[in-house]
């Protein structure tokens, strides 16, 4: 079995306890995403916002945005994400904090940029957003049309549209991916934006599940981006572009897999708690789902370790993300089956979990995208070979 650093074991114990609090507000936030403001004092939410830390939470240094001292940042996020999503994925994803921007900053951010973001996050609970996907073009880098136009003094004007961006309507800060006008097809940069700047507008986009994260559509109309907000400018060119984006996604995918696992575990636990006796084929099905959760967890944790050891090693991340999202849909649907007709109405939490499970499919690449990644790895011998 994979062994964890002691500080991570401690973190896990705290986060697991804090996760239970999230469940209490799950259905309320599902009805009204703005209700998250009433839960900002929960330890889990404060932790995500960066305002509370578990004992022995061990950072490499005191600098803003410093990684964990044990060096396993992806594994740490996976551990936390699985537990908190088991509490409630909607509340977890809708919580304030650095979230995906934190991962982006860890790869592309200078210390001054980290100080700017984390300094503002420290003031009070603030949300961030991560704007990549575009209407009709998805997340394909080569198709991106949001544009950074150089002004001449090193700064840019940002124009375009983004879609399906979580938390953007409530965010103070965000990261936006855009193409520099006149550059080649893959010439994409990530920039930090202050959402209060003129030209930035975000509107909520109602969804069927994971409502806490409040997806939005963003319009960017000549948003001014100072030179110091361009991420990766301090890095060599080979570390700024696609390499960094791939690396960020490799690190994020195990976390999405962990969120899907958390949803699956919540549904599985719900069956255990609300069907006191399971016999025969039902018992078999329940145990079989439990084994599938265990197997997908192993895959997810191994994917996280692989990325922590080598950021380019993303094939296990794709496998874990694809498998865990499939599992979340299967387990939540089967869980409804344990309660017979009308289960969605009589067991609203299960109905929510079955809706939430679908939401993980689209994060950081759909199952089909993961499979194309995996095929490419298989075809080129980068995965599946001893």
């Amino acid at each position: 079995m994979i062994s964890l650093p002691g500080s991570l074991e401690t973190t896990h114990r705290y986060v697991r306890r804090w996760a239970d609090d999230l469940r209490a507000g799950a259905l309320e936030i599902d009805r009204d995403p703005e209700a998250v403001h009433r839960y900002l004092d929960l330890p889990a939410v404060r932790f995500l916002a960066g305002h509370q830390v578990p004992p022995e939470w061990d950072r490499a240094s005191a600098a803003a945005g410093a990684g964990p001292a044990h060096g396993l940042a992806t594994l740490e996020r996976v551990l936390v994400s699985e537990e908190l999503a088991r509490g409630d994925a909607g509340m977890m994803l809708g919580a304030p904090g650095a979230s995906m921007c934190g991962v982006l900053l860890s790869v592309l951010g200078s210390q001054a940029q980290k100080d700017w973001v984390y300094g503002r996050l420290a003031e009070r609970p603030r949300w961030t957003c991560f704007a990549l996907t575009e209407p009709d073009r998805g997340s394909a880098i080569g198709e991106m049309t949001t544009t950074l136009t150089p002004v001449g003094d090193g700064s840019y004007l940002l124009d375009g549209e983004k879609r399906y961006v979580g938390n953007a309507a409530r965010a103070d800060l965000g990261a936006v991916f855009a193409r520099v006008a006149g550059t080649e097809r893959l010439g994409v940069l990530a920039v930090l934006v202050d959402t209060a700047d003129p030209g930035f507008r975000a509107e909520p986009l109602p969804t069927l599940g994971l409502r806490g994260v409040q997806l939005t559509r963003i319009t960017l109309d000549r948003v001014h981006v100072p030179a110091e907000r361009v991420l990766g400018a301090h890095l060599p060119p080979t570390r700024r572009g696609m390499w960094s984006i791939v690396s960020v996604f490799n690190q994020l995918r195990p976390s999405v897999a962990a969120i899907a696992l958390g949803i699956a575990r919540a549904a599985h636990d719900y069956v255990a708690e609300n069907r006191e006796v399971l016999r025969g084929a039902e018992r078999e099905l329940f145990e079989s789902l439990g084994q599938r959760i265990d197997a997908a967890r192993q895959l997810t944790y191994r994917a996280a370790l692989a990325v922590d050891r080598r950021p380019a090693a993303g094939h296990l991340s794709s496998a874990a993300k694809a498998r865990a999202c499939e599992l979340a849909e299967d387990v939540t649907m089967h869980a409804l089956g344990f309660f017979g007709p009308g289960a969605r109405l009589d067991h609203p939490l299960l109905d929510k979990l079955a809706r939430d499970a679908r939401g993980t499919e689209f994060m950081e690449g759909t199952r089909n995208i993961q499979k194309l990644n995996l095929f490419q790895g298989l075809h080129t011998g980068k995965v599946g070979r001893p």
Binding site: M1, I2, S3, L4, E9, H12, R16, L79, E83, N274, R275, E276, V277, G280, A281, E282, E284, L285, E287, S288, G290, Q291, I293, D294, A295, A296, R297, Q298, L299, Y301, R302, L316, A319, A322, R323, H334, L336, G337, F338, F339, G340, P341, G342, A343, D346, H347, N368, Q370, K371, L372, L374, F375, G377, L378, H379, V383, G384, P386
Partner: protein, 240 residues
């Protein structure tokens, strides 16, 4: 249950051998290592034995000596002889887990054969391998293989502390192993579908896949039907 380190090593070797050399050499290796001189018997007393080892066995059972039922050349099937072993005994568990490793290796070998076959086939001017549905099907199998590898690796690495956040929620018991074996079988079937009629011929890789299925059947059986349909209960009451 603590598994001796040498047994775990034999498990891993069975996978490597099945992948590199094929199912029969791997089974020969595993049989010699875990069941020397004795045919390993399934829960109902059957056995599948490399023909090469028949002369080394203390008992022969109902050997189909003319080889009519040989699943692949080089393998013999034996009918029940003597009392069947207790499937929960450590030796039977170690053998069953070893077979899962072996079958994973055989399935990976089939995957490689599939890649080579599909790369050589052309459709509308390009390789069949580059059709998106084919890519997706192969990726699905790869995900299964990686997941199974993780579960088996975990077993081979030995248990961690019970309170570890990474401890599995359920033990890998007999029914769980049967489901894992079924997952390998389903991965094989998915690969065979990509080979079309070629996978159905006795000359093609389908024959080794059949032998692998036979091993799972003899030593494990197919998992009991899980009953996917909703029970006839009043959902508000939960249990009836």
């Amino acid at each position: 249950m603590t598994v001796p380190a040498e047994v775990r090593e034999h498990w891993r070797e069975a996978r490597t051998s099945a992948r590199n050399d094929g199912l029969v050499p791997a089974l020969t290796l595993l049989s010699r290592a875990l069941s020397p001189g004795v045919a390993p018997r399934g829960p109902r007393g059957h056995a599948v034995v490399p023909r090469e080892l028949l002369g080394e066995l203390a008992e022969s059972g109902d050997d189909d000596a003319d080889g009519d039922r040989d699943p692949v050349p080089g393998l013999a099937v034996l009918g029940p002889a003597g009392p069947p072993p207790d499937p929960s005994a450590p030796d039977a568990r170690n053998w069953g887990t070893g077979l899962a490793w072996l079958r994973l290796g055989a399935s990976e070998r089939l995957r490689e054969a599939c890649l080579a076959y599909l790369a050589a086939r052309q459709v509308e001017g390009s390789s069949l391998l580059l059709q998106q549905l084919v890519k997706g099907a192969l990726a699905d199998v790869l995900i299964d293989h990686l997941e199974i590898e993780g579960v088996l690796d975990d077993l081979a690495e030995g248990p961690g502390p019970d309170d570890s956040p990474l401890a599995p929620g359920l033990p890998l018991d007999g029914p769980a192993l049967a489901r894992l074996q079924a997952q390998i079988t389903q991965a094989d079937r998915a690969l065979l579908r990509l080979l079309g009629a070629y996978g159905f011929t006795a000359e093609g890789p389908g024959r080794a896949a059949y032998a692998s299925e036979l091993l799972a059947d003899v030593y494990c059986g197919w998992p009991r039907p899980a009953g996917d349909s909703a029970p006839n209960v009043d959902s508000r009451k939960g249990n009836v």
